[in-house]
């Protein structure tokens, strides 16, 4: 069995604002092994990014705080190590690719320096050597003329190239865990596929564990080994990618899958958006946050958070609908008459 890199248990991150406590993440747990990719999927505001930022300890405090849970990087507790140790973890053990490559690079610093900076910091390399490594990394993520590009500023790069540079920066210190936060959302469709390929190649090359945060189930299907579906700061369903796509058990997961275009259907195919609005994170109910939008809700849904129910190999769901009834409802939905995707 592959080396276990990350063990997250019961992570809760809240923001304490004058308007109230924003419960962005509530009791999220997952694990990540070497070479594995976990996809965290959910709509905006579901807490997926805040969960990842909590791992990096990059939640602005105040107002944010990890209020509960344990975050273990192998045998190190990321919640208790010192700030200096945490800085060593950042970039070195856990690296992150951000959503918007246009704003995530320093506009007045050469791209090469931005990469070399991390190398010099974590690998004890001299300036010339780090600079050369930066050029090599740029070449490796598929930037032509890397020797010249390393001397340029971000504004001289296109969006796709900037994201490649971000990836080069993230992998520069061979991190064990790579967090990719919506790495393709801000890019053109044609560039998206290329960036996904680069991330996959880099993962294969360095054997990292990847946390892929996205609302795009297509990207999840392409890259992930397992999937965590989040809603309103909670995990509603968790399991291997095939289980989530072919045997989804949570009504929210159904909604997500139903909103995905299918190539195998003809004109009668119709995207079904999920009705209703994302939840207000300040006034979350103690039970299932999806209740107000759930067409199948029960009396207790809103007030009591359901226990984890095992529904398949490594596959769990939090839902009050009895499993038999759930399968029956799903079978009646137009989208699930045949296997999805």
């Amino acid at each position: 069995m592959a080396e276990r890199l990350l063990t997250v248990k019961g992570l809760s991150t809240h923001f304490f604002t004058h308007a109230g406590v924003v419960k962005a993440v509530n009791g999220v747990s997952f694990t990540l092994d070497r070479g594995e990719t976990i996809g965290i999927v959910g709509e905006s505001g579901s807490g997926k990014t805040v969960a990842a930022m909590s791992l990096m300890r990059l939640i602005p405090d105040p107002p944010g705080k990890v209020v509960e849970g344990s975050l273990m990087l192998r045998d190190r507790d990321l919640r208790t190590i010192s700030d200096a140790e945490m800085r060593h973890v950042r970039g070195n053990d856990i690296a992150m690719i951000f959503q918007d490559p246009m704003t995530s690079l320093n506009p007045v610093m050469k791209v090469g320096k931005q990469i070399a900076e991390a190398i010099m910091l974590h690998q004890d390399k001299g300036k010339a050597e780090a600079w050369q490594m930066a050029a090599d990394l740029l070449a490796r993520v598929g930037i032509p003329d890397a020797d010249k590009r390393v001397d340029q500023y971000p504004f001289e790069f296109s969006g796709g190239m900037r994201q490649r540079a971000m990836i080069a920066m993230a992998i520069s210190c061979n991190p064990d865990v790579l967090i990719a936060d919506e790495p393709t959302t801000a890019l053109d469709v044609t560039i998206q596929a290329q960036i996904i390929d680069v991330v996959r190649e880099m993962q294969a090359q360095y054997d990292s564990g990847v946390i892929l945060i996205t609302h795009d189930l297509g990207v999840i299907a392409e890259m992930s080994d397992k999937v965590m579906v989040m809603y309103g700061g909670r995990t509603v369903e968790y399991g291997p990618v095939d289980e989530i796509f072919y045997n989804p058990h949570h009504p929210y997961t159904w909604g997500l899958l139903a909103s995905l275009p299918r190539l195998d259907e003809t004109e009668k195919s119709r995207l079904t958006p999920i009705k209703g609005q994302p939840p207000n994170l300040i006034t979350l109910p103690p039970g299932c946050p999806f209740t107000p939008r759930c067409p199948y809700r029960r009396a207790q849904c809103r007030d009591i958070w359901p226990k984890l129910e095992v529904v398949g190999p490594e596959h769990g769901v939090h839902c009050w609908i009895p499993v038999g009834e759930r399968v029956a409802i799903r079978a009646g939905l137009p989208h699930f008459k045949e296997p999805a995707v």
Partner: protein
Amino acid sequence: MPDWDEPTREDRDVYGSSWVTAPEDVDARRADEVVEEVLEEQTKPLGLWADTWRRLKRNRLALVGLGIIIVFIVIGTTEAVFYQMHWHVRASDEAVRSGAPGYLAPYDPNQVNYDLSPEGLGSPPSWQHPFGTDFLGRDILSRTLVATRVAMLVGIIAVAIALTLGLILGPISGYYGGVVDSIIMRAADIFFAFPYILFVLLIMSVLGQGFQNVFIAIGVLGWATFARVVRGQILSVKSMEYVEAARAQGATDMRIIFRHVLPNSMAPVYVAVAMAIGGAIATEAALSYLGIGIQPPNSSWGLMISDAVNYLAGGNWWWLLFPSIALVTTVFGFISFGNGLRDATDPKLKE
């Protein structure tokens, strides 16, 4: 089986019934944005102004500024309405003359010889004259209060002139672009090239000193600031969909500018107005101090300061202090409020 535990946290928090109204694009990409979106969603039914007010309310300096502005406007307008008839009566009324409590300004500001020291230098603050008297024995408190009206008038009228010019030239420049835009903006560049106070001096030296000329000089020179702000706003909303939609429906240019573009781009203009009023008041004071602004026997803080400094070596500190405090407080009020308003309306600075 994934090895994750049941969340240990027993969430039993009170929840409201209105928890399904967040905007579609809530994005947890940045933690502070989550906070902001939630805040925004809460104020949605209240609209933009309530939102601005809520943010402004948290900025103590801005609130102090607003309080100062209100107080000085009240003083200015109260005096404007009441002082003539009251003092007219009072000047001949022995009871008032001897210092009985009366209106906001306890004495006729131009009445001399209320209280003169033996050296003829005015007297320091006392119960009868809380701010003291000047070299003619005039009551400084009354003069300071009356000068409030002058300051407010200059601030508001001069800025109204500048704003009107800016609201004419800015939209033309921003909406039509091209050659017209170039000409207007190059003209603005030229106006910005002068050190402001010197340009005012130059204009005043041509127009000649006097009350109206102060309004005109400050007002006419202020157009460039407003034209730039309005133009920038117009450019930023011009290509937005609702403007396109209005155009597609055949709305006239004027209608588009005044019905659709301007109302959606006024926030920075309000900020500029607040700052400009503070600036105009300071400029008037500087002009009056230099002797080419408000002329005696009218009262102006700048004029009082100018009179006071000639007697500074004699130790008449009160004469300098009180009009200075009034001037500095007023200007601070407008700048502080303007800054707060900018922070509260700037989308980049949200939270």
